[in-house]
């Protein structure tokens, strides 16, 4: 499973829409406490063509970080 972290909640919303528009379901989860103790949300992408999402994040200038979980 891959977690995508963004610099702010607006970017999370934008990124979530981008994925959902191309049919990739992501789950919104609070950023795990071992990554950051700030109250933030991130996206968990369990399946689907994640590369396409990533490509669109880059195209739309949405900065992100990826964490591998589990």
């Amino acid at each position: 499973m891959q977690l995508y972290l963004f610099p702010n909640v607006h970017k999370v919303m934008k990124a979530e829409k981008i994925c959902s528009n191309i049919g990739i379901q992501s789950r919104v989860i609070p950023v795990p406490e071992h990554i950051s103790s700030e109250c933030g949300m991130c996206l968990l992408v369990e399946s689907g063509d994640v590369d396409k999402c990533v490509e669109l994040f880059e195209k739309n200038s949405i900065p992100f970080e990826v964490y591998h979980e589990g």
Binding site: V9, V12, R27, V28
Partner: protein, 206 residues
């Protein structure tokens, strides 16, 4: 390093062993405390932190290794009563049962888009928690959280697998014409909802 192996010992023994072990070393010297039990490990960490022993933990397979430093001046409150740190999950302070109510498809008031995001985050976080609600009730716009194709329905399904009863308001799914899209829980009526709310230890409204 002076090593205190607490494997196989149950609370409060690991705490007493750690306390006695620290008496064997000099100020500033380190001890290694090994535990194989998560509750004991957490109790040890609380005890050593309060003692002023700056515990640093690492997990090695099934073992927790805690390095603690003998402080120049131990907190007498912690030092004299290591047993008080013996907490058993669900033991000392029994968690009360509670019911979560989703009154709308969002969490809180304010920006609707933010409310959508928050409720998704809440349900996805809730499934990983130890203290789960007995029921999650959805009424009015809240029923939308149970519809197929949403990550909230996935989270609710996982909560259901863990024993949480998911209740969806029948009048509401009828009103919104989404009855055939409800993918989780039991469609119920206001008598049942009223009974559950009346009997709940406490109710958490989203």
């Amino acid at each position: 390093m002076y090593t205190i192996d607490t494997k196989g010992h149950l609370c409060p023994e690991p705490l007493i062993m750690a306390s006695n072990g620290l008496k064997e070393v000099k100020e500033g010297e380190k001890v290694l405390i090994i535990s194989d039990n998560e509750t004991s490990y957490q109790n040890l960490m609380s005890f050593l932190t309060d003692l002023g022993a700056n515990p640093v933990a690492s997990k090695k397979g099934y073992e927790y290794h805690i390095e603690a430093t003998k402080p120049a001046k131990s907190s007498p409150q912690a030092e004299n009563n290591p047993e008080q740190y013996c907490s058993v999950p669900g033991g000392a302070a029994p968690a009360t049962d509670y019911v979560v109510v989703a009154r709308s498809s969002r969490m809180g008031e304010g920006d609707p888009e933010l409310g959508d995001l928050l409720v998704r985050g809440y349900l996805n976080a809730l499934k990983g928690m130890d203290h789960l609600p007995t029921y999650i009730i959805m009424y009015n716009g809240g029923v939308k959280l149970s519809l197929e194709g949403t990550d909230t329905a996935l989270a609710l399904g996982e909560l259901e697998d863990k024993g949480v009863s998911i209740i969806v308001c029948g009048t509401c799914v009828d009103y919104y014409k989404v009855k055939d899209k409800v993918s989780v829980g039991r469609i119920s009526n206001m008598y049942q909802i009223a009974t559950i709310l009346a009997e709940a230890g406490h109710v958490v409204y989203l």
